[in-house]
Subunit: 253 residues, 4 copies
């Protein structure tokens, strides 16, 4: 088995890559999974790697699948997209670099000129108004995004951007792929479909397509109920606010 | 020394591999060690690796042996089996992949067509009735197991299957080896011979052989006494329930 | 992408390398950043590596840059210097060795004969008088530094010198590059511009150039105010002294 | 720089290797350092490695040295020995294997037929009588050691033997080098010169040489005073027994 093993299942051509691997608030993952549900898509490539967890997922019928990062071609209301999705990022530092480089190579071969890395930026407190913060390796892309209401800079996010999202911009910079990161503000404590909606708004606006968002709205409502229930439980138990556990949320998200 | 070093000691031929390396409740390990005790077996291959702990075990006479993963041929009441056993799994992420790939290669060379990975699934509470949960990379194997009383799906186990068990299914899927995981429900706090008995019941039923289980029953009784003693001790000491330490249990297991 | 990837942007020639990557009290980083601000400099080489964090930094305009270690040529008041700076050191053990070896190679190609690794040595308590402790892989360099008021030995620093600073001396020893480490005493709890001033005093004295230090003095004053404010806050809150968090300080430093 | 880099400084010939790298109670390290102090010795090989900490030590004059594992030839009262010493073991799992294999290769080239790995076995409580527990990869060596009062087996040490000591036996087994581990019982909380004396007694007895032990006795007395002082301090401070910190002890040991 190779360190990174790509299985190509179909040919595809698209100028835009949208990345939504797990991260803060699972914001990017929610957006990309929403696109996969709403539009026709085709699995173009599966990436297995010795840098991903040594793990299979089990579906509702008991059927297993080796952890992978997937590239789908998606016809988003007439706009060609490649979508990068999966349940895990690299578990090692060098793996982050190697997988990002491999993904960039693959996508450039399929015609990608611009990459959008979607994610969340943790505010540490419950968010009232869901802004979208941006960053890019390209000044012209920054200008374009600013016209669509994305907020920039003033040192945000303070810790920089890490993982696959960061490296699509960072390695993209070295290999001359224009890339931007769109980060929905989110508390950082919950899987956040509301933040995902805010990012989706920007993305559809920038790329020029429309998509039904009912499903995300339903999830946002569910999430609100769960948070409320957990808050009540906590008040009953110890009169101290406590956040839902990662397990509670993973189950929901 | 190679990253993974295989020492072949004998030739063997078998269609079925049964894996029982350490994991939740040491369920798989107990089953495979039981088979090794009850039936004639022969050491076919020893696998040493830079991904295993840098460690020797010491036997009761003071004689040492380098940590290894072993493959035995076993004549289980007329059924040919290869048994995978050892005291440790890989200590690194990439090592899990590399060792699982090496083991699959070795076993296919010896005629293996189906692999059973044995383990436990932690319920977080004391188990009353010991069910066996299954998962497989093959729909036909799923059907077969269901006929033998194995329970499936509804997202169990939620965290997927990790380590060597997961990868025998995951890499097996890529290399077209049919594989299933049989997981005995267990609290997750103790080495669990009762859970092992439940898994053994399914395994013997599926593979069509019988085996004496007295030894496992004795171990289950010992374990119950230990748990009871520890509970009493804890009650005396601080009136709070406390689980036995990993060391207590390793000594017992 | 290579494990370590060097991008050369300009030619340069200098006999002296000064290293100021992050470390105890960010002392070395403060000194080298001060030199970069006060003198004309040119980016000679950018080093990206799979051993650095998989991360981009984001500037005030939202423009991103892949984490790197940089070498600048700097004309320090007539003295030619190569300055090694960056926001991160290697995240892996072998990466420390590989990056230090690569940097030494690069610098020797540019004529470097002596390397000064700048850092802090943690005292664990607030420092009244800022001494500079030295260490070197060369006896003649030790003698030279002693003449400039650097203190030596008596087992200080007890833990040896780790990371890039340690390896510039350690690998320098193997490859016959004369190298010294200058460590400003610092509490270890704060980013410490006063300790940086002490180290800068020695460095300028040894290398024979002068530099404006107003900026470092301003930073030292800011830092003092912050520490005082945090002490007051802590007294108000819980009447117990508490050190500022890493985040507070990173923001300031 | 190579992953493991050996610098040969002299030729040597000896049938016996004695290893004393840091471990439980620093027992092995104390014995080998004692031999280096008491007998004439010559540095035969220095081993630097990307698996050792990225660190230099600093001596009392401020002179630095890159962390290494060293092999000295030592004329122990007429008995030829190779002594393996240093301040650190490998920091990585695979590094343990690679360094042990390299060391075995080197030593076999110098004629080594038997390796003694010295260490401590933690009892978890203060030791009254200092027994020496043994283990070996060779039955004939086990018998020989038993004649010299070494205790064996009954599953001791329960956790097996880890690190370089374990691998000299484990890899020695694969490469047909006879090896034994001699472990002095020690509390596990302190650097223990008394345990070192017990191990030294066995070693000199087995190898047939004599050595002055005054220095180790002095250290044992110092240690006892320190432990007593720390116990008194703790009684004064909080009336609770507390063990000396690793730093206290490193300073002493």
């Amino acid at each position: 088995m190779e360190e990174i093993e790509v299985r190509r299942h179909a040919d595809a051509e698209a100028e835009v890559l949208v990345e939504g691997l797990p991260g803060v608030g699972h914001v990017g993952k929610l957006v990309v999974e929403h696109l996969l549900e709403e539009f026709d898509s085709e699995l173009v490539a599966e990436i297995h790697s010795q840098h991903l967890p040594p793990q299979v997922t089990v579906d509702d019928d008991g059927l297993t699948e080796l952890v992978s990062v997937d590239i789908h071609y998606c016809d988003a209301d007439g706009v060609d997209l490649l979508l990068l999705s999966g349940d895990h990022q690299s578990q090692t530092i060098d793996g982050h670099y190697k997988m990002a480089a491999e993904i960039l190579d693959l996508c450039r071969d399929m015609g990608v000129e611009t990459a959008y890395a979607l994610g969340g930026v943790a505010t540490g407190e419950m968010v009232e108004e869901y802004s979208v913060v941006g960053a890019s390796n390209s000044e012209s892309l920054l200008e374009k995004l600013e016209e669509h209401g994305v907020e920039f800079g003033e040192g945000e996010p303070t810790g920089g951007i890490i993982g696959i999202s960061g490296l699509l911009l960072g390695l993209g910079e070295l290999e001359e792929v224009e890339a931007a990161c769109l980060m929905g503000e989110t508390s950082g404590y919950i899987v956040d479909p509301k933040s995902a909606q805010a990012v989706l708004d920007v993305l559809t606006d920038v790329l020029g397509f429309t998509v039904d968002r009912e499903d995300l709205e339903d999830r946002a409502e569910e999430m609100e109920e769960v948070v409320q229930r957990l808050e009540e439980m906590n008040q009953d138990v110890d009169r101290m606010p406590k956040m839902p556990s990662e397990d509670d949320l993973r189950y929901i998200g």
